[in-house]
């Protein structure tokens, strides 16, 4: 069935609708990874967004329980050049488009995604929607206009659990540490939409992990007697999450804090740094990030639309230097730098225990180059204990 993508600036791209057939709107973004479509759409950080996959074929190896990054699809819709709906791949439990339809997620294929991506790259990420041809363009335009912009948007509340979830370390049969050294640390996380891969990586290293609703107060969290706090990834604008930032502020300095993605932005805001919206975000599995503490470069999994400003309020760093911020909790030092666009990818608090990265060391999907950060984090907890 024919359909189309309509962007808020009126640009239209034709295709064939698939998955669930219904009008849908959201922020249209693009992801340049060549595999990992199921992980992406189930990543809660994509809440409120429509993902354009730059890889032409999406759905090649079907879907399986193993590749879920949460319990459901969070992306609003998928835009593809050549969707594949087959379940005969080894390991596939369901065909991709059938599964999207089961999940009531609209999709569109046959779209000149490259033209769409070039448009977003030049004009910036923007609102848009996927519509069957039965929806007239004027109506579609009104629907897109009605979609709230991503700037200033609190989406964490939509993806956070209703109540706390307590998880034990994983045994060797689930890839966990075969010889755990004593009782593992207790990590208390504010779940703004945490990815399963993050939780798995922590539990595999012997940690007890608690996932708390993002509405949990600082007192509630402090009462959990954590060995460390974890600030999760998640959707939306960090600037709209002052309620969480306030909570985080209470936690800093008490125990080591580690943040990934949105969690990185929240910790930075909590210590007094600023965030800004990137023109079209980083979403993919090929960005080079330099670890300034070792000089090593890792290829990273990325999914964010906002970033942290440098010490002088600059968006990009000129040199590969570990520059420092003055924060409300002492100095912070740049530890990770994006070599693509030279934005901040990670920092460490020097006077209180805490470090964060903007990208996704847990991969899922993407390369495993940065898994060492989980070891570093766990080591730092054990050292602090």
């Amino acid at each position: 069935m024919s359909g189309y993508v309509l962007l808020e600036d009126g640009t239209r791209f034709d295709g064939d609708v698939c998955g669930a057939v219904r009008p849908v709107t959201g922020e249209v973004v693009f992801n340049t990874a060549m595999s990992g479509y199921q992980e992406s759409v189930t990543d809660p950080s994509y809440a409120g967004q429509i993902i354009t996959f730059t890889a032409p074929h999406v759905g090649n190896y079907g879907v399986s329980a193993q590749a879920m990054e949460s319990d459901r699809v969070h992306a609003r819709a998928a835009i593809m050049r050549a969707a594949v709906n087959r379940e005969d791949a080894p390991g596939a439990e369901r065909a991709w488009l059938d599964w999207l339809q089961d999940c009531d997620i609209p999709a569109i294929t046959g779209v000149d995604t490259r033209a769409l991506v070039r448009h977003i790259r030049d004009a910036g990420a923007m609102r848009g929607g996927v519509f069957p041809d039965s929806v007239p363009e004027a109506e579609a335009r009104a629907l897109v206009e009605a979609e709230p912009p991503m700037d200033g948007r609190d989406l964490a509340r939509e993806v956070t659990p209703a109540e706390a979830v307590l998880l034990d370390p994983l045994g060797a049969e689930a890839g966990g540490d075969p010889a755990p050294s004593g009782v593992g640390p207790r990590i208390v996380a504010i779940d703004t939409g945490i990815k399963t891969s993050i939780v798995t990586n922590l539990r595999q290293r012997g940690a007890f992990v608690e996932l708390h609703p993002c509405s949990a107060t600082a007192d509630e969290l402090l009462a959990r007697d954590a060995d460390a706090y974890f600030l999760a990834n998640g959707p939306g604008d960090p600037a709209a999450l002052d309620h969480i930032v306030g909570t985080v502020r209470e936690l800093v300095g008490k125990r080591p804090v580690f943040g990934i993605c949105l969690g990185h932005q929240l910790l930075c805001r909590a210590v007094g740094l600023e965030t800004f919206k990137l023109p079209f975000g980083h979403r993919g599995a090929n960005h080079p990030v330099k670890d300034l503490t070792t000089g090593r470069i890792e290829i990273t999994s990325q999914n964010h639309g906002f970033a942290v400003l440098g010490p002088g309020g600059e968006r990009t760093m000129d040199a590969d230097d570990p520059v420092r911020w003055d924060t409300d909790f002492g100095a912070a030092e740049l530890t990770h730098l994006n070599l693509y666009d030279r934005t901040v990818e990670g920092l460490t608090l020097l006077d209180v225990p805490g470090s964060t990265v903007q990208y996704h060391p847990e991969a899922g999907p993407g390369p495993h180059d940065a898994l060492y950060l989980f070891d570093r984090f766990l080591d730092s907890i054990r050292a602090a204990a």
Partner: protein, 1033 residues
């Protein structure tokens, strides 16, 4: 870390002649390396025996040695040039093995030469199977169970521990040459024996079979800071069991989940670290069992490879360029991504299209061969196609192959199609598509072929109709390494059918000239034509216009985005080319540099209004139409051998008498002498016609009087329409009747008088003007007694243009391009035609008989060589000896020569025998030849013929008691004595000369070699000695 300052002069080794398994990709990688290292300010000393390469153009190195890639000559160059470092990772297995030998024999240490790019230990860990296994086990990686054997007994002892089927691979051979798969104990013995023989160190590896598993390759780069990136993943459509060079491949991989792909990525990184390639690119090959997700490491190449050339073209990430920079000290992050100009090379390309590579085969050239694909590579070239979807790319790749005859499957039953699909062959995917078209199910085909269902489902859709969206437009997209995340600065395009109309072609105000490339390498059309196209691009750019390249061969320099101002990676069909012309609106189109491929399009392009440059379509037709051309010759008063054209068997038999025997017979419109034979009488002609003409009723058959024992001469000339200039005259070593592409040739001619040379020039000029050539012209003559005959004229770039350019120092292709852009001969500041050269250049063909066990290793009117080498020396014998050595058929210094010749050759055989006797060789011969030799007083030992009981001649050869074979053939084909003799010689690696003139040249060459190695001279030194050179660059 910046560039290393402690080295100034770097030696780069090329890969030598184009052979199966080692093709033009190493010219591409070597040229890139030379370019960037010179940009970095290093002095480059280059050694490569292949004159048809761009890298051996004098402007790409400070000193260019066209010398055999053997330890002796390379050591001579090292002694003379004293390089600080040797970069061996860009010249394929040849360069890597050579570096290993130069390390082992102490040459490198003696002269203080450092190996850069890969050190000796890393080379050994990757190339020595045993060490590689150990290294992988140490890194915790699974490899197939395996054993190493150096004897048949050892192999049999290991067999049961591994379990049949077993893959047999010889150590240190090119492209897996000499290996195979054995499923039964008998097969096992045969394959092991062949493998032991093929390996230069007499060693085979026996591997647990992973036949039918998925085959994947990852291209990996590592820098001295231990940063590692994966440039590209490649998935073979053919499962394990077909050599990756013979497989249809797709990039990026399509069937692995992200989880499994990341597992391969992790393993590839472990492999490069464990092997210890400190800087540069490597290729790691995996087998993956899709059902169990088991992964095994199959092999790694610690160097730039065919796959890395493919990966570079597929992604836009220039692996060889970056490998060269890494080798001299840079880190990935210090190198810019050429395409975006704003991001560093320390990233992984991501692509938003599909790339399909398709091998090009030439089984039709080797009758008697089973066209079955195995782990032993047999393809002679490849094409690549880019499409926004797999189906678009696949369809483009199919038409890029440019087959002489499309697979004919209409008459084949579906049952037979399905049976044939089960056995991998050159037409496997044509068969699969036809079967799908007739309704065969992907599931059934999967069960029979092991091809992943994903591909079969896609192919089923393709079989049902073309993959074009509704209301699709042809748009041009850019290859940008980043899926459009950043703007691409490098104009590298492919066409795609899309619903939108957004084309990305960006161009300035300068007029453009489109150069149509040569398509896939194949026998008859090789790298020489790519060389000419690259030169055309250089000249077009120099003229202030934009050079625009259209080609589909990923192995080449022409498809390097650096070569032209805009590159369109497209099939060379009329429709695809017209698509490019529509967006380019060029000032001119060049069709005469890329061989037959673009020439075939000339008429269609002209009809469509394309502004063709140079020689007109009308002139091309005048040269190609035999009737018209012979009319022209008559009008010019030039003689040609008698000929006739027949349209039926009866007509052919009828007119044979008028033409006169012997006859050269061939069907019309053939490339490289396909199906061309010499027949001596009516019976022979009738036999030929039953074999060839019946297949194609109504097609023309050409009958030419064959001038026996004539000397063949090749001429390359320039003409501007009113003035012609002869650029080079080459005399063939073998007599007429051997295809000019397979014959050795000498420049300047070594036995033609001044008068004959003048006649050749004069007739060449007459033909050039008669045809109205504007650009290049190649004329072939036969000198028969004191008579000169015109054999044919081709108003286009010929196979010999690069050789002539290297030999004379005059870049003929560039000069021709200048003429096509409007220059006159008089503007070119050319030297006199027959300048005295103080050196002799010999071009020798390299034949692939060792790859095709079962075919008669014989030269004839049908071209079979895959590549060429050049030998340069002060005299003919020394140059000939060098060319032979470079071609891999090094002549023995002493020993036993076996001579057996036809009756007509017997009188002359004694002369050859006497020469070898004088050189101290023992001469052995079969009875008839022995008698003729003995009659002239030359001592000779008589050997039994095959039917005369053991030990017969083949026993002698197989025992290794013969060092050189001279055998002139009486007829061809299996089961003749000559066939058995030649096959035995080829399989033992004993040089086998099949013409008496070749034998005489060999004797002179051996005598010359006794005088010691001649001084090695660079092309720059040689050209500086030639009068009048220097003006055109």
């Amino acid at each position: 870390m910046p560039r290393r300052d402690d080295i100034q002069r770097i030696m780069v080794l090329g890969s030598g002649p184009i052979v199966i398994g080692q093709a033009a990709e190493f010219d591409y990688s070597g040229t890139q390396a030379c370019k960037v290292l010179r940009e970095e300010g290093y002095e480059i000393v280059l050694v490569n025996s292949n004159p048809a390469t761009i890298m051996t153009d004098p402007e790409f190195a400070d000193a260019t040695y066209v010398e055999p890639l053997l330890p002796g000559p390379v050591a001579q160059v090292i002694e003379k040039e004293r390089p600080d470092a040797l970069l061996p990772t860009l010249g394929g297995g040849t360069a890597l093995n050579l570096a290993r030998i130069l390390h082992e024999d102490g040459t490198l240490e003696r002269h203080g030469v450092e190996l850069i790019g890969a050190d000796y230990d890393a080379i050994a860990r990757a190339e020595d199977r045993d060490l590689f296994r150990e290294t992988m086990a140490g890194a915790g990686l699974r490899v197939p169970r395996s054993a190493i054997a150096t004897t048949l007994e050892e192999a049999e002892a290991a067999r049961d521990g591994i379990g049949l089927p077993i893959i047999v691979r010889p150590a240190f051979t090119l492209g897996g040459w000499g290996g195979g798969v054995a499923s039964t104990p008998d097969e096992f013995r045969t394959v092991v024996a062949r493998g032991l023989d093929a390996s230069p160190i007499g060693q085979v590896l026996l591997d647990e079979s992973v036949l039918g598993w998925g085959e994947f390759e990852l291209e990996v780069m590592r820098d001295r800071n231990d940063n590692v990136v994966i440039v590209c993943s490649i998935e073979n459509l053919d499962p394990m069991g077909v050599h990756t060079g013979d497989s249809v491949c797709v990039a990026p991989q399509q069937t692995l989940s992200d989880r499994l792909y990341q597992e391969l990525r992790d393993q590839a990184i472990k492999v490069i670290r464990a092997v210890g390639v400190e800087t540069g690119g490597s290729n790691v090959q995996f087998a993956v069992n899709p059902a169990t997700e088991e992964v095994m490491v199959i092999e790694m190449n610690p160097r730039v490879s065919r796959s890395s050339a493919l990966a570079s073209k597929a992604t836009g990430f220039p692996i060889a360029k970056i490998a060269a920079r890494l080798a001299v000290g840079y880190a990935l992050e210090e190198i810019d991504n050429d395409i975006t100009k704003r991001t560093p090379a320390s990233f992984e390309p991501t692509i938003d299209y599909a790339v399909v590579k398709w091998p090009r085969f030439a089984f039709e050239k080797f009758p008697g061969i089973d066209p079955v694909l195995t782990t032993h590579m047999k393809s002679v070239g490849e094409v690549m196609a880019i499409g926004r979807t797999f189906q678009q790319a696949f369809a483009k790749a199919m038409r890029s192959r440019e087959l002489d005859a499309p697979a004919r499957l209409d008459d084949v039953s579906t049952e037979e199609l399905l049976d044939r699909a089960a056995v991998p062959g050159p037409d496997r995917f044509d068969i699969v598509l036809e079967a799908l078209c007739r309704g065969a199910s992907p599931a059934d085909l999967h069960a029979r072929t092991g091809i992943d269902p994903w591909f079969l489902e896609e192919l089923a859709e393709l079989a049902a109709g073309p993959d074009t969206p509704p209301a699709a437009n042809r748009t041009f997209k850019a290859v940008d390494t980043c899926a459009a995340e950043f703007e691409a600065e490098t104009p590298y395009y492919y066409s795609s059918w899309e619903r939108s109309t957004a084309s990305e072609v960006r161009r300035g105000e300068r007029p453009s000239v489109v150069i149509l490339g040569a398509g896939p390498n194949r026998i008859g059309q090789g790298i020489e034509f790519d060389y000419c196209c690259v030169h055309a691009a250089m000249e077009v750019r120099a003229s202030g216009r934009d050079a625009v390249m259209v080609n589909c061969n990923p192995e080449t320099v022409s498809t390097d985005y650096d070569t032209s101002d805009r590159l369109y990676f497209e099939p060379l069909t009329l429709e695809d080319v017209l698509g490019v012309l529509e967006v380019e609106e060029p000032e001119g189109v060049i069709v005469t540099f890329g061989g037959q491929t673009p020439l075939k399009l000339a008429a269609g392009l002209e009809a469509a209004g394309a502004p063709l440059l140079g020689t007109s379509v009308e002139s091309i037709d005048l040269a190609e139409d035999r009737g018209r051309f012979s009319g022209l010759l008559a009008q010019l008063g030039l003689q040609a051998p008698a000929y006739a054209t027949a349209h039926s068997v009866e007509e052919a038999l009828g007119c044979a008498g008028q033409v006169g025997f012997p006859l050269l017979v061939r069907p019309s419109y053939v490339l490289g002498g396909r199906a061309m034979e010499i027949v001596y009488d009516l019976d022979g002609l009738a036999d030929y016609l039953t074999r060839h003409a019946t297949a194609d009723p109504g097609r023309e058959i050409f009958l030419d009087r064959f001038l026996e024992n004539a000397i063949e001469v090749d001429v390359d000339a320039l003409c501007d329409g009113t003035t012609a200039w002869v650029g080079g005259v080459m005399q063939h070593v073998e007599e007429a009747g051997i295809h000019s592409g397979d014959s050795a040739c000498v420049l300047p001619p070594h036995s033609l008088g001044e008068e004959m040379l003048q006649a050749i020039s004069q007739q060449t000029r007459a033909i050039a003007l008669g045809l109205g050539v504007v650009g290049l012209l190649n004329v072939q003559f036969a000198v028969h007694g004191d008579q000169l005959y015109v054999i044919e004229a081709n108003p286009r770039a010929s196979r010999t243009v690069p050789f002539v350019s290297k030999a004379t120092g005059l870049p003929l292709a560039k000069l021709a391009c200048r003429i096509m852009l409007g220059a006159r001969i008089e503007d070119l500041d050319l030297p006199p035609e027959h300048r005295a050269l103080d050196h002799v250049s010999v071009k020798e063909a390299v034949l692939p008989f060792d790859r095709f066990a079962g075919t008669d290793p014989l030269m004839g009117p049908e071209m079979r060589s895959t590549g060429e080498v050049m030998g340069v020396a002060p005299d003919f014998p020394a140059a000939f000896a060098k060319a032979q050595a470079a071609a891999g058929a090094g002549l023995p210094a002493s020993g036993t020569v076996f001579i057996t010749v036809t009756d007509t050759d017997k009188p002359a055989a004694s002369t050859v025998a006497a020469q070898f006797h004088d050189l101290g060789f023992r001469v052995v011969a079969t009875s008839g030849t022995a008698q003729a030799i003995a009659r002239m007083g030359v001592p000779v030992t008589t050997l039994n013929k095959l039917g005369e009981g053991s030990p017969h001649v083949v026993d002698w050869i197989e025992r290794g008691d013969v060092d050189l074979v001279i055998n002139t053939p009486v007829g061809t084909g299996a089961r003749t004595d000559g066939y058995e003799i030649r096959s035995a010689a080829v399989s033992r690696g004993i040089p086998c000369i099949t013409t008496l003139s070749g034998g005489i040249a060999a004797a002179r060459a051996i005598a010359a070699a006794r005088m010691g190695d001649p001084e090695v001279l660079s092309l720059q030194e040689i050209h500086a000695r030639v009068d009048g050179v220097g003006a055109p660059a």
